[in-house]
Amino acid sequence: MKESTIASDSQSSPETLAAGVARALPLWEIASVMTSCLIAEWAVLVFVGHSKWVMAIPITLAFGLMLFSHRECGETLRDLGLRTDNFVFSCRLLFLPTALAVFLIVSFGWFTSQSSFSAPWRWRFAALPLWALLQQYVLNGFINRRAQIALGAGPKSIALVAIAFSILHLPSPLLALLTLVAGATWAFVYQRAPNLYALALSHTIASLTLALTVSPRWLNGLRVGFKYFG
């Protein structure tokens, strides 16, 4: 059920950009979305603290750009991976890596917390599926698709997605490492079976396991950006 590469079925119109520019443009789009995320994570918190209104500005700009870009490229929700027909196939691809990740995370949590899990349940974990879906949309529904246009499907675009995901989780060293591996896995699966629901499910399971079994002193409450130091 491997999907055809995104770039291969491109078509041009009189008002479209030259093909060469159009292939470089996705990299700019990725950089732009990354910049918005980094501004929200670092600059807003540094300069004005936890101001949700100010935080909303770069986030809105990023989502505005992504939605406009989808419209410009004629992408549908189905193209992005918001579909159900390949959900089972995608879940099947994700089962082993997710199970392995859960096993490794639980083992790490067990050994580093002297054989006891002390992380408490928090009600904000209930919003994890939605948060995971949102992250997967940005990571794969947008960044992965644009990376494939620029670099083609395969190792290069997968590496770009993984590195981008990891950078957004700095400066937490453990999270940056985990997201590098997880980002590559999810990007690989998305390129074979683009289904954001399945990816969000895997993301939720991994994040929840991480939050409940690994001591907060290793993860600092899953905080990223400037918040990591607070």
Binding site: V46, L61, S69, C73
Partner: protein
Amino acid sequence: MKLPSTNLVHVLIGKSILETVLVGSLAVIAFLTILPPYFHGWGEVTDYGVAGWAVDNGSRWERVEVQLFIDGNFFDTAVANRSRPDVSSAGWAVDEWHGYAFVINSLSAGPHEARVYALRNSGNATRKSLQLMGTPIQFVVGSDGKLQKHSAAK
């Protein structure tokens, strides 16, 4: 999938400009709230320490909290509330109670550098910033424990 039109380039440029303006504005607002350029002051070496004055021109009746760092390390904190009639008579302050003095008696003999900072609280005291008062003070501790201005200091 269609190739994008030039509109996408325009949107990208517009977004970049907006974000540059946003970050620039945030930096200016942060500078004005966290590090307002309202502090004035000076410090100099005395026989047994560092003394001087500090005034917050944004809040002229307030006493400024000052911190002394020697050779880059925190040494002591004090409130600038000592009498300095020369400061008010020179027009720097509305009253004379803006002086500070730190006694230094635990340094090894030899050259050292002192820096006096005004402490600024903002964001309901969740943010603290330091603003240097005057210039770094070069001094030498003699074998008798007395301080004197470093002769090589500018």
